[in-house]
């Protein structure tokens, strides 16, 4: 069975985070376990990190460099669902709509794979987002209408082969376009690849999205294990 572990801290925001975790558990037909730092202390965090969970749910601000969950990220084998305080009440749609920014790196690709694994039961409406900036803009863009179609098709083939998703192309600041696209697409969750280090000067996109997103953010380490599927689900893939 899919296992979800939620780690909560302050009592006043615990119910909202647990509600999000329960929503995911219901959508994924998963078992939910809640660890409370206020009662169990650091042992709760260690227990959560060591558990064979398929998804860890934590408050987004706990992943800040000085936050209590910052140490989880580098070594976490499971995807982390970071829940901003502003995401209170944001539930999963049917099917869930996921915004998956892709810059062509392995990290970003791993997030798409994790999303598809995680939502393989209910299915997911995946919107792949690619933002052109001075580092990622193609050298050539011949005839815009044709270039968009052929480039987009090739990009999805190379980086999101399983997605069956649509591609949203934008230009500008990746940090701002990710947030804007999430709102425009009414995304339920944003999936980001993350190497695990959120110290100052690193992972600027991830840190910006964690601070400003209105929906939960799924963080996936490139080495994250695949989601466990019940035998019945595995047999039908």
């Amino acid at each position: 069975m899919t296992e979800i572990v939620a780690v909560i801290d302050r009592t006043d925001r615990a119910p909202a985070l647990v509600a999000v975790a329960r929503d995911y558990a219901g959508a994924l037909t998963a078992r939910l376990t809640v660890h409370d730092l206020a009662h169990a202390g650091a042992a709760a965090l260690q227990s959560a990190a060591a558990s064979p969970a398929d998804l860890l749910v934590v408050p987004a601000d706990a992943l800040e460099p000085e936050g209590w969950a910052a140490g989880l990220l580098p070594d976490c084998a499971a995807p982390l669902l970071a829940v901003p305080e502003t995401a209170v009440g944001v539930g999963l749609g049917n099917p869930p709509r996921v915004l998956a920014p892709l810059d062509g790196t392995r990290e970003a690709e791993s997030a798409v794979v994790a999303v598809l694994d995680l939502f393989s039961g209910p299915g997911a409406d995946v919107v792949v987002l690619h933002v052109f900036d001075e580092d990622t803009a193609p050298l050539f863009w011949d005839q815009p209408a044709h270039a968009r179609d052929s480039w987009g098709e090739e990009f999805l083939t190379r980086h999101a082969r399983r997605a069956g998703s649509r591609l949203e192309l934008r230009s500008g600041s990746a940090r701002e376009e990710v947030l804007d696209a999430a709102r425009a697409e009414h995304a339920d969750v944003i999936a980001l690849g993350c190497s695990g280090h959120l110290a100052a000067g690193r992972a600027r996109l991830v840190r910006h999205v964690l601070r400003h997103a209105d929906v939960p953010v799924l963080l996936v380490h490139p080495g994250a294990r695949a989601v466990h599927r019940p035998p019945a689900e595995a047999a039908t893939r």
């Binding site: 050298l139 011949d142 052929s150 480039w151």
Partner: protein, 273 residues
Amino acid sequence: PDEYHEDVDDDAFTYVMARWNLRRAADLVEDLDGSSTEVMAWRRLADRIADGYDPATGVYEQHRGYHRLEPLTAEALGRVPVAADLLLPPERLHGSQLIKQPDVLMLHHLVPDEVAPGSLRPNLDLYHPRTAHGSSLSPAISASLLARAGRLDEAVALLRTALRIDLDDLTGATPAGLHVAAQGGAWQALVHGFAGMRVRAGALHVEPAVPAEWDGFRLRLRCLGRRVSLRVEGDRALLSTDGPLPLWDGGRRRLVDGEVALVCGEDGWTRGR
């Protein structure tokens, strides 16, 4: 050619090509049927077309008002080539002097005898830094023109880009189809640019330029109904034809056949003596 500025007036490329077409049509009709009132009207119209050329600077203004646009260069966006239309909002792009590919300079490539003599270099100086090469066709044409202007190192760099567009999948979409036009452009860069080969008034003009990093180069093509090969090493060349071929030799038109040695001297490339 420049798709970054489409809704414009008095476009130099359009006017010069219109003029060339009128004159060329007049030539063809006169060759067939002799002159006529209508053909003479074509020529008068062609002579009256204003092309935006400034004799004081040697520069063609790409379109009316181009010189008043923001003087943005391609390098300001970072690496070149770059698809500038993916990085800049349309209003900024259209309001800048950035161009997608050679436009005025395309005239120097397509109809070099229709533009003002000696105008290649001043127009290269102005427009080349403003060329983003956002079209896969652009590097090859620019390479050709840079070679003709004697800027051989820059020409080789852009030729290399043109040749590797599909080999290195520089568009990110080569599986969708090879860029055959860019490959043709690379061929043109070698023939018209580095070999300096052009047909003028029914005779072949040859003016090779060998970059420092090349020992030489060799071409084979068909020209004026003949199989022609050209082998160039430094300031010497060997032209071979499979039959009589009109050739410009130091300003004189001569008929050559078989192998002809050419040398580069004070009068340009001429038959070796």
